[in-house]
Assembly symmetry: C2
Homo-oligomer: 265 residues x 2
Amino acid sequence: MTEHQYEFDRAIAIDEGGRGRLHDGWDINGNANGGYLLAVAGNGLRAVAGRPDPISVTAHYLAPGKPGDVVVDARSVKQGKRFATVTGALTSGDRTLLQLVGTFGDLSASAGAGAEYMAGGPPVLPPIEQCIPRRSDGPFPVPFMDRLDVHLRSSDVGFISGVKSGVAETAGYLSFADGRPVDTLALLLVADAFPPAVFNLELDAGWVPTVELTVHVRAIPAAGPLRCVFRTRFVSGSMFEEDGEVWDSDGTLVALSRQLALLPR
Amino acid sequence: MTEHQYEFDRAIAIDEGGRGRLHDGWDINGNANGGYLLAVAGNGLRAVAGRPDPISVTAHYLAPGKPGDVVVDARSVKQGKRFATVTGALTSGDRTLLQLVGTFGDLSASAGAGAEYMAGGPPVLPPIEQCIPRRSDGPFPVPFMDRLDVHLRSSDVGFISGVKSGVAETAGYLSFADGRPVDTLALLLVADAFPPAVFNLELDAGWVPTVELTVHVRAIPAAGPLRCVFRTRFVSGSMFEEDGEVWDSDGTLVALSRQLALLPR
């Protein structure tokens, strides 16, 4: 493997045999963050696809990830003119952590192409200095948060102080702590990097495992902090969706995400 | 294969070897409807999962479906206590039409379980008699529409008369034409059964192929017409998402869908 300047690149490195390693420090209370797992798996899938950008990637989460060796077992299903589609799994020993399908392409080719229709824009956020830095300590340890610079809108952090907003929405800014630019692969991490929006509801929602996470990458992010918002509209049958929007510093929509997650029954 | 009372069941039948047949009449201008393809594939995946209800199913669309023999090649990845996860493909000869991953479970076990939070409700629709029946003729032939009873809100059908609303939203009622109850498997069909919401925009959007479609099934539908709404918020880089909500006649949210689709470049 090549030397990498940034810790994210070291932590998602996959060799030509699909071998990699879940690094320590990307976890929440001992379990690897779901976005980190998606980025590791996505890095392996992308190599097999042979295209630079994830366009749509879906992972089903089957077992928690712990630091140690992993393999991305990926197979190309279609190599088309515009896109390549890959199926695969992220495994640790004989355990499948994630089962995936993904389509990859080259977003530099479609930048600014075609008609635009935007029924909405970036989340309205106060200046970053007026937001609350998300820390790795708190109700339970989130070492993962030391990898990122996440600044949350102050109305969305009541779950830390105990005064919850009652609205399932979390918004704020995101960058890598070590200054690594956020590229399209890193958007897979970003899609699961914020505290769950349901933390702002009066629910018993400490542990909300992801069943499935899909990320659509729509554009290559410009440099600078991303503006992100995650919303849950419907909690029912002990399940909920969480929809994310990720906008770059130029106000371009760069990713949409949706996950299905579980509440304790 | 067993005799089936309803045409949908005949059209999605899969034998123990995973063999089935794409039936004529479920197409749009000669290509099988994407929701129909998802239902056929989902029926094969569900058999391998051994659970009654799709929970989250994702398909990547790689080639159009034509009437004829198909195979659902599915493999169980995890059989858990609550869910089973399956990976697979829908193939026709040596062509992969859909590549899929899906998680299945038993929704009768979680009905009404846990906390509820609903930031929204069913789409507001006029009585069904005041809606416009979607017909199989029009700008181009949609034989698929003879299989269903779709009644659209009159403000959403301007794309037929040429006076477009300018809002990427389509809402209406849906039932099977032959009275088959809509079960959780049929919700996979429903997720792609409406005219694209972008038809209501001033775009050159006659042929908008699906790249990827994910359906979350949240509850078992009660009898009676479903209320559906499909919305596109962001068209950019010649791609757009379409988000669907499906509600049953009791006002229960039964499915959420999201697809990534392409505009002509």
